[in-house]
Symmetry: C2
Subunit: 331 residues, 2 copies
């Protein structure tokens, strides 16, 4: 069996740490790890797989020693500079940033949804935005059967999506400190503002959901609108998804399709007050779907409530699943 060298870039960040946790749980065989970080964090000791690792500063020659894979979770600027360098040295990069997602020759992959697109890569594979990943896992099997015509997204996004400073803002919030990460206090407040504002009056986050959903579902003209809202929850994003299909459906078929699709756990038992919540999704790699019901305001309408761990399935776990499937497909 082949041995693989895997670089974790941004190992000291929130997604990087989550990646290490997920990798410890999975304990994949025959992989040798190197943990990269910024100049600032270099030298940090990290306990991982029973050993003590030292985080190493990422440099232009870091990929000279022949990596098979690198998972980048260090922001768009780091990815823009270093991912092409890594790819040129023969390393397959799975990039968690937004840097390359919409580039034509960069596949944007959610393993449950469009893994076969991965082979179009030229060394860089993009991991979608967290809020997009959990949505498309739920939408894909329904699109296959009923053909989605339009989507209205409203999100309830956790502060961990904004990194360590986002978490700190929520935790400090009751003390009335000025926010470190957000533009306004997030404690006791919802902020309809994630990432920066664009000239079309949408946020980048909202347009990521529109454009990435289209790319992943391979429906470049799909009608989608989105409102992205940060809520005072530490981890796990919620989404209210309103869908219009071309074809008619029976609600019991939606239940059975979702229950039998990969990566989905249906939590929808109203009698016992069971539905997806952050507290249920936290620490899991599956996407939790509930509040499944017809939207009676249009002909083939459906409402869903979708929750997932944004640090895991929305970032680290999705990237690791890509690596796993690439290794499997080589064997």
């Amino acid at each position: 069996m082949k041995n693989y060298k895997l670089a974790i870039v941004g190992a000291t960040g929130l997604v990087g740490r989550t990646a290490l946790k997920v990798l410890e749980e999975k304990n994949l065989p025959n992989i040798e790890y190197t943990l990269f970080c910024s100049y600032k964090s270099a030298g940090q000791k990290i306990k991982f797989l029973g050993k003590e690792y030292t985080a190493i500063e990422l440099k232009n020659d870091s990929f000279d020693e022949g990596f098979d894979f690198a998972i980048f979770s260090a922001g768009a600027e780091t990815s823009k500079h270093f991912a092409p360098i890594a790819a040129a040295k023969g390393c397959t990069v799975i990039d968690n940033s937004s840097a390359f997602r919409m580039e034509k020759d960069v596949p944007l992959i959610v393993p449950e949804v469009n893994f076969n697109d991965v082979y179009k890569n030229h060394g860089i594979i993009a991991n979608p935005n967290c809020s997009t990943i959990q949505a498309v896992v739920a939408l894909k099997p329904l699109d296959d059967k009923y053909n989605i015509k339009r989507i209205v997204y409203s999100t309830y996004q956790a502060v961990s999506g904004a990194g360590k400073l986002g978490l700190e803002d929520l935790e400090n919030g009751s003390q009335k400190l000025p926010p470190l990460k957000f533009s306004h206090p997030i404690y006791d407040n919802c902020l309809p503002h994630i990432d920066s504002f664009l000239t079309n009056r949408y946020t980048k986050e909202e347009m990521k959901m529109v454009n990435e959903t289209r790319k992943i579902l391979n429906k470049p003209d799909l009608a989608i609108t989105a409102t992205a809202v940060r809520v005072p929850v530490r981890n796990c994003h919620g989404e209210s998804i309103n869908i219009e299909f071309e074809k008619s459906f029976k609600i019991e078929d939606i239940f059975s399709i979702l229950s039998n699709s990969p990566g989905i756990i249906v939590k929808d038992d109203l009698e016992n007050l069971i539905y997806p919540t952050a507290s249920i999704a936290n620490g899991h790699d599956e996407v939790f779907v509930g509040r499944i019901r017809k939207d009676y305001s249009i002909e083939n309408g459906l409402n869903l409530w979708v929750v997932a761990d944004n640090l895991r399935k929305g970032a680290a776990s999705n990237a690791i699943q890509i690596v796993e499937k690439l290794i499997e497909s080589e064997i």
Copy 2:
């Protein structure tokens, strides 16, 4: 000038207390107040308008002494029993509960929207559900001009809407106590569950938004769907509202209509990162509207983000505004 006798029913509850606060701020002339409560709270001393009031137990003969108005905020069961008794004695009841809202001969009033319907009352006027009130204040002037065809609501509702125990659950939440009011912890969690579940898989709260919006806008067949979610915020509801109009519009006209409509404050200055939040709406009677933008996924689509103080405009202040306007219209 006439003197009026006004009863506050449920004076010791969260909405009742808010009503007293709003009445103190307004300091309406020529009104004599009586504060009613349940057997359990009877005898409580309440400082109000510089005097000490004693909350009195509400009984079948409480309305014998000739009240002009009563604001009921003591739940549907109390309203069902006592509001007809009060009305029969010639008292005009403004009822904050859901008991009579959908009854044909009970007007459901938001003063900025449909005050003229108030005169159809037979002694009972219903105050709409909090999440409906703030929505219709924003929607009415747009409906008048562009004719709303369909609405998709997703709400971000504060715990104060669930009363004192709801607030306690949020405040106790980090201590991992079992919830007093909610079915699951609300601290660090969003719950897609407000009021009880119905056989159509919607919650009562969601169907209130559908049915009450139709009644207030006087559009009994308007296409509406709703997802109502409780968020870990103490006070002020947020709403992501997606609207489809019959007629086309210019986005600058939407800004100017909303800015010039009663009861609305537009907060939408993206360059300065200004948009409605709970922290901005808290303590105010206006409805705050922002994130105003075209929904490019349909022909005449619009997205709005609407925030209001659910205890004030969503309950107490709306009821008091009805009383004020009734008094004005008599003068």
